[in-house]
């Protein structure tokens, strides 16, 4: 191999880590220049990721492997327990040349710290580092003058490191480790302004809700371990990995039935937590308390897509369980519709975008749940375009927030297009992409998902209603996106007093990344749709090259055209309705809200998930905690304190002896001598005479 993969694969995560460490150590002295280490290292990572992608594609096309193409580099072995598990039924042993044989009687538990490169990893790396570099550059302007400037960049570096590791590792345990690491970074960055009670509460909520998902994820890993006898993706040490070449090239090498469904549902629970899917979506809107670049990077473009990545990576496992596919699709469709409905009535621009993110992630899950090659790649396609246009929308919203002095409530400002022309245009591009208006990126990727789900619906009728949920959500998406757009940028120019007299367009550090992202929001969808590169590349990933992934030909068919026509009509209708309702006075919208009051009430209250969870989980837990606190404070502490009170009581009795009178001390001494004489001389003498 002429090209040195290991160096690239190590350098891509190493750069951001180094940047984070340097910033953490020297940030206090770097002060306003603290962004340089992190920005430079992330940009370096992005360049290396693009190089890696091109080389991976090149190698994949010339692959001689059985299933797709992958390369791994083992850095070190983290833990090794020999003979940890009696070989389960599904374990496969390998000869030196990789031929499947019976496994050894007992299998070792080992966590190989191994990085991998294949098409899926390379694409994720490219997306993550590319968006991260733009967001980091944007943050230079956005976070300027903040007290925690260097802290912010240090966290961002740490996050990019964790995220690149998450998509690079080739072991489920390490996936879990970095899954938690990105969660930690998310927690730190949501609670970045730690003096603000809402930010602390939001960070805590994100962390706790994610624990529910991670609990399922961990159980899923245990089940994988006892089912397959390994936790590596790849083949190593004479044992076939869960997603390795040896297993993928066999048919029927995967567990079926209840075991497969259980594994997949537990992994889905983990993915639901991280990717904010129903019913664990409640943390994401609150996470908007963090700085806006964080919302763009972590809570829109990268971290929340970890669940999508994980399910895509585990596609072969899902292929073994039709029920799990249905579950993924149904969760996706519910989340998709729910997010869309809630986003319609929110007044906080960032909240609208947060619910829109939840909804769009629902689309991706819907695509993954349809479980055909076309739908899974469409889900990944949507992940990619969504990363661009949602980051763009968030950063534009951040630009508005920055100019408005931290106010993001759409009732407080309007008509900003005259004050902020660049932000207006970039938001428009992002909005058109999100609404799915041709030829913007979102149109192609969303229609790819809907088309694939529709095609699947021809075989399995369950998917037809899900398809319509997606379609109607596309309509809602257009309405809420342009509702936000019109309320913010059109109408009479109003500026909240917090913005001061000098509300102005943001600095160039912020507008240039916006323009770059706007370019990609316009072109990335059409480019990948016409060239078909993304599908081609993803098809070379071992997990997706697996022969059990169904590949019906849906591309360019008549059904596809119908889907595209309907969705375009819906998107344009949505934009039109939003324009009718929210351009000019909002009396029509207010009338609608009054007519459909129950629906409006539900949507405005976010379907009262927070309240329901409060009653069902938070309050019982709180009561239990109170009970424990009472027992601890009164019963356990009471006993301990009682024991502690004995010596002071005895001492208080004896204390009166210490009167400070010299004569008394002398007397006490004499009494002591008398007692000594009695015990040593008189008492033995008496005892002797008694005998």
């Amino acid at each position: 191999m002429a090209f040195d993969f290991p160096v690239l694969m190590v350098l891509i995560p190493a750069f951001p880590l180094a940047g984070a460490i340097v910033t953490a150590m020297f940030g206090k002295w770097l002060k306003h220049e603290a962004h340089w280490p992190v920005v430079v290292s992330i940009v370096c990572s992005a360049v290396l990721s693009l190089m890696l992608l091109s080389h991976v594609v090149h190698e994949s096309e010339n692959s001689e492997m059985a299933v797709g193409w992958e390369t791994t580099i083992e850095l070190w072995n983290w833990s090794g327990v020999p003979d940890a598990l009696a070989a389960p039924e599904r374990a496969i042993g390998l000869t030196e040349t990789g031929v499947a044989i019976a496994p050894p009687a007992r299998l070792p538990f080992s966590v190989d710290v191994t990085l991998r490169a294949d098409a899926l990893t390379a694409i994720m790396l490219a997306v993550v580092t590319f968006v991260a570099s733009l967001v980091a550059i944007y943050a230079v302007g956005y976070m300027h003058g903040d007290r925690g400037y260097w802290r912010f960049f240090s966290y961002i570096g740490l996050f990019v490191f964790s995220m690149t590791m998450l998509v690079s590792v080739s072991n489920f345990v390490l996936l879990y480790v970095f899954w938690e690491a990105v969660g930690l970074c998310s927690y730190l960055l949501v609670g970045f302004w730690y003096e603000k009670p809402a930010a602390i509460a939001a960070g805590k909520k994100a962390f706790l809700v994610n624990r529910v998902g991670d609990f399922g994820f961990a159980l899923g890993l245990f089940l994988i371990w006892i089912t397959y006898g390994t936790l590596n993706y790849h083949d190593s040490g004479g044992i076939a990995g869960v997603l390795g070449q040896a297993r993928l090239s066999q048919t029927a090498a995967f567990a079926t039935g209840g075991t497969a469904t259980a594994i997949c549902l537990l992994l889905l629970l983990g993915a639901c937590g991280k990717s904010a899917q129903f019913p664990l979506h409640v943390w994401l809107p609150d996470a908007m308390e963090g700085p806006t670049p964080v919302s763009a990077l972590i809570h829109a473009a990268t971290m929340v897509t970890a669940g999508v990545y994980m399910i895509t990576r585990c596609t072969p496992l899902y292929m073994a369980s039709v029920d799990a596919q249905y579950a993924v699709a149904i969760v996706g469709a519910i989340t998709c519709g729910l997010g869309g409905v809630i986003a319609l009535t929110q007044t906080d621009l960032k909240r609208v975008l947060a619910y829109s993110t939840i909804s769009q992630l629902g689309y991706m899950f819907l695509g993954l749940g349809a479980a055909t090659f076309a739908s899974i790649t469409a889900g990944m396609f949507h992940l990619l375009t969504h990363a661009f246009f949602k980051a763009l929308l968030f950063l534009s919203a951040g630009s508005v927030m920055h100019a408005m002095g931290g106010i993001i409530d759409m009732r407080r400002f309007s008509g900003l297009r005259r004050i902020m022309p660049i932000t207006h245009w970039t938001f428009l591009f992002g909005g058109l992409a999100l609404a799915g208006v041709i030829p913007f990126a979102g149109f192609w990727s969303k229609d790819a998902i809907l088309g694939a789900v529709n095609a699947k619906g021809q075989e399995v009728s369950l998917y037809i209603p899900l398809y319509w949920v997606g379609m109607i959500t596309a309509f809602l998406t257009a309405i809420y996106t342009f509702r936000g757009f019109f309320l913010t940028f059109y109408g009479p120019t109003r500026v909240p007093h917090e913005a001061g007299e000098h509300a102005h367009e943001s600095v160039r550090w912020m507008t240039i990344p916006l323009m770059i992202l706007a370019f990609f929001a316009l072109t990335s969808g059409a480019y990948f749709e016409w060239t078909g590169q993304l599908h081609h590349w993803l098809g070379m990933t071992p997990s997706l090259a697996y022969s059990a992934v169904p590949r019906p030909d849906v591309h360019g068919g008549e059904g596809d055209l119908i889907v595209k026509t309907i969705s375009t009509a819906f998107a344009l209708a949505g934009v039109g309705i939003a324009a009718y309702l929210y351009l000019g006075d909002n009396s029509a919208a207010a009338l609608l809200a009054r007519i459909f009051y129950p629906l409006y009430w539900l949507s405005y209250g976010k379907f009262f998930f927070d309240q329901i969870y409060n009653v069902l989980f938070v309050w019982p837990m709180w009561l239990l905690a109170q009970l424990s606190s009472v027992i601890d404070n009164y019963l356990i502490d009471g006993i301990v304190n009682l024991v502690g009170k004995v010596p002071p009581w005895v001492a208080s009795r004896l204390r009166s002896l210490q009167a400070g009178m010299v004569q008394f001390y002398a007397l006490a001494m004499v009494w002591g001598v008398v007692v000594l004489i009695i015990t040593l001389l008189v008492w033995p003498a008496l005892a002797r005479s008694m005998e």
Partner: protein, 148 residues
């Protein structure tokens, strides 16, 4: 006089000295008197040592007494210096003045009799007609005079 009777006499005198010293130490509050009492008990012990020494015909005891005398002399020097310092501090030789070593929440010892004594002194007794020159009152003596 036989040896036993001699020893008995020594021991009786020693015990008496010790007992008187002890009682004096307990009952008197003048620091110098207390010190003298302590010395007296010490000498009582020394005397019994001498008695036993002679009885057993062992000169070690008498040698020990020489040591005790020496040590007592040193101790007297130090003790009197301490007493003098304390006297300078408070202007009184009363040991009851120095009761700070007691526990914080213990009530201080208050000398009620002292108050009555002072009041009694203010009673004017009939005096003879002064004859000759009235002596100058010694102020120094008044301030340093103790009532003990």
């Amino acid at each position: 006089m036989d040896e036993q009777a001699l020893l008995q006499n020594y021991l009786i005198v020693g015990a008496l000295l010790f007992g008187i010293g002890l009682v004096g130490f307990f009952s008197r509050r003048n620091m110098i008197v207390m010190f003298l009492c302590a010395e007296m008990s010490l000498q009582g012990v020394s005397l019994s040592l001498v008695g036993w020494s002679r009885y057993h015909n062992d000169w070690g005891g008498q040698m020990l007494v020489i040591f005790i005398l020496t040590v007592a002399a040193c101790e007297a020097a130090i003790a009197l210096a301490v007493v003098l310092t304390l006297f300078h501090r408070s202007g009184k030789l009363d040991i009851a003045v120095w009761q700070q070593l007691r526990e914080d929440n213990q009530a201080a010892f208050v000398d009620r009799d002292l108050v009555e004594l002072e009041r009694r002194q203010q009673v004017r007794w009939p005096t003879l007609t002064p004859a000759g020159i009235e002596p100058e009152p010694d102020l120094d003596q008044d301030t340093h005079r103790t009532h003990i």
